[in-house]
Amino acid sequence: MEVVVLLLDGVWAALQPTNLGLAFLGVVIGLFVGAMPGLGSVNGVAILLPFTFVIQEITGTISSPMIFLAAIYYGAMYGGAISSITLGIPGASTAVATTFDGRPMALSGNAEKALVIAAIASFVGGTLSNVIFTGAAPLLASVALKFGNPEIFALMLLAFATFIGLSGDDIPKTIISICFGLVMSAVGFDIISGAPRLLLFDSTQWFSRGIQFLVLAIGVYGIGEMLWTINSSRDSLKMTEANITLARVWNAIKSFPETWRGTTIGSFLGFFVGILPAAGATPGSLMAYGVTKMVSKNQEEFGKGRPDGVAAPEAANNSASTGAMLPMMTLGIPGSPTTAVLLAGMVIWGLQPGPLLFTDQPEFVWPLIGSFYISNVIAVTVNLACIPLFLKVLRMPFSILAPLIFVLSVVGTYAAYQNIYDVWLMLIFGIGAFLLRILDYPLAPAVLAIVLGPIAEPKLRQSLLLSDGSWMIFLERPIAGPITIAAIILLLLPLYGFIRKRMKARKAS
């Protein structure tokens, strides 16, 4: 009952004109970055994070900048579907699975039906996951209050193990990416002893203040990814026209109930995949699509324009984005690359993410949770009302958008730290990220690692200090033990797959 009262208070706070305006603006920006190929929620949130300082300054509250960024996150989940359906290329990686059936639907003249189903499924997924979040978050936070240093480090290990075990990327390259981010987070000085360390190339000017996470995040997502998109999307894209009339949209809305199976599977599966540290909305939506196809009686229709195939991934990516917020807000462990950036933002605004947030900062937590509900309503309304407008915006040439994003990245990095060396470093990271991306090096783990590094290192060192240098502390404690074992199993998963493949190959030969 107490939760309901707190939630209602939160919704009321989120409905205040300033917060409502910020949520609206965030959703519109999110829909835009989600819909533009090459840009996703993480790009939008990383590039705009430096601009939230002004929101904090003007509103005087810490929940308002977060409401703005969370709204971008939600909006992007809706927006991704627009380009998946009309252009046939996903607007963001989270909408990859939406292309499987969304594109065939558009090609067969049902673009508006696919767009409407995507929007409503997103809304249902988002709202259902918000209800689960509201119930689960305070409970998990109260359990997490018992967590000490070894437990928190074990959770971080689990986050990185998830990347290695489940991402499907090249394993040595994933580990390089993680280690690079973690080592970069150690540059500057040792947080425990205060000793300067890793002053690379003996340059105090460049490295004595450490490497700020935004420098890497904007470099990777504002410069590297953009260069990659320019290089890979050289062929002109063909947009499928959507014939939008009120009657057709209404017919599409009426046909939504036929996608109940996909929407339900997407909503629940998405949420639970989203909770997994470092998994996020992309694997969530792909798994939801796979499971919906698996349980369907008409499996052969998938991939040819089945509405269920649009509803499942769209419900899942919205649901997973809420799910990813759960470990971020209750444990201080981000569930996706975007939440990693949000987590870093919270630290910059002076918050300590983790279980104490719910007891110490209710004036931050509940308006934010309230805004999740409001943002979803705004997103579905704006999305349905403005589909024709977004289709026009999508025609904006990339050769105008790209330089504007470059300028935004450069100015944003400078504004955040007011140091031109950081801007140069950002560009170096960006160019490096572009070259590494061509060679299939995953870059999201590095961004997650530079955010988690400053939290993980002290937790590890304090745990080892407690145990006189014995690693068994991570296995012996009742909560840390199972988490560490789960992390080890995830780490060994690729090895198991490799051995099984070898044995199969041997049998075959």
Binding site: P172, K173, R197, L198, V411, G430, L435
Partner: protein, 177 residues
């Protein structure tokens, strides 16, 4: 692509060794500090030293870059099997024009500040690379600079460097700040 995969793995391996070397350096205020004395798990009974975290992670990075090299030799990863060029003619041209443009943009910021460099970079990109009309490129370039001035200098009070153009802004400071 094959050559690039190997060269990158080699560069990462070298960089990892360098990071390991740097991690082992003791604090500058202690001239008696021995290199690599700070990477142990229980240094002077005070738990892991300052180099513990970066040293072992850099070692993991080094081992993984060797594994990338082994995978290259055994042709296990897609880039090590690929017959494509790392960057084709379009890619090299794009990288030189856009990447070079960005580097020039940052150098220009040092000379004439953000508000001089932003319109020039946007004009270069939109007119020369994007082949859009010159007036559109100029309009977007100037609007972006004006927007940034009012957003950063005026609203947020974050003064962006103006380089040699500083004197031109003094009258504007009088009006808006």
């Amino acid at each position: 692509m094959r050559l690039a995969e190997l060269v990158t793995a080699f560069v990462i391996a070298l960089f990892s060794l360098y990071l390991m070397w740097e991690s082992g350096e003791g604090p500058s205020w202690d001239p008696t500090a021995v290199r690599f004395a700070n990477i142990g798990i229980n240094v002077n009974n005070e738990g892991p030293g300052s180099g513990f975290w970066p040293f072992w992670l850099s070692l993991a990075m080094f081992i993984c870059s060797v594994m990338v090299g082994i995978n290259w030799f055994r042709r296990r990863s897609p880039p090590s099997r690929s017959r494509d060029r790392f960057l084709d003619t379009y890619g090299v041209k794009m990288f030189a024009l856009v990447g070079g443009g960005l580097v020039a943009f940052l150098f220009l910021i040092g000379l004439i500040g953000f508000y001089g460099a932003i319109p020039i970079f946007l004009f270069y990109y939109i007119y020369f690379l994007g082949k859009h009309p010159w007036w559109l490129a100029a309009l977007i370039g100037i609007s972006a600079a004006v927007f940034c001035f009012f957003f950063f200098d005026v609203a947020m009070r974050i003064v962006l460097p103006k380089g040699a153009l500083e004197p031109m802004f003094i009258p504007l400071y009088d009006i808006f700040l």
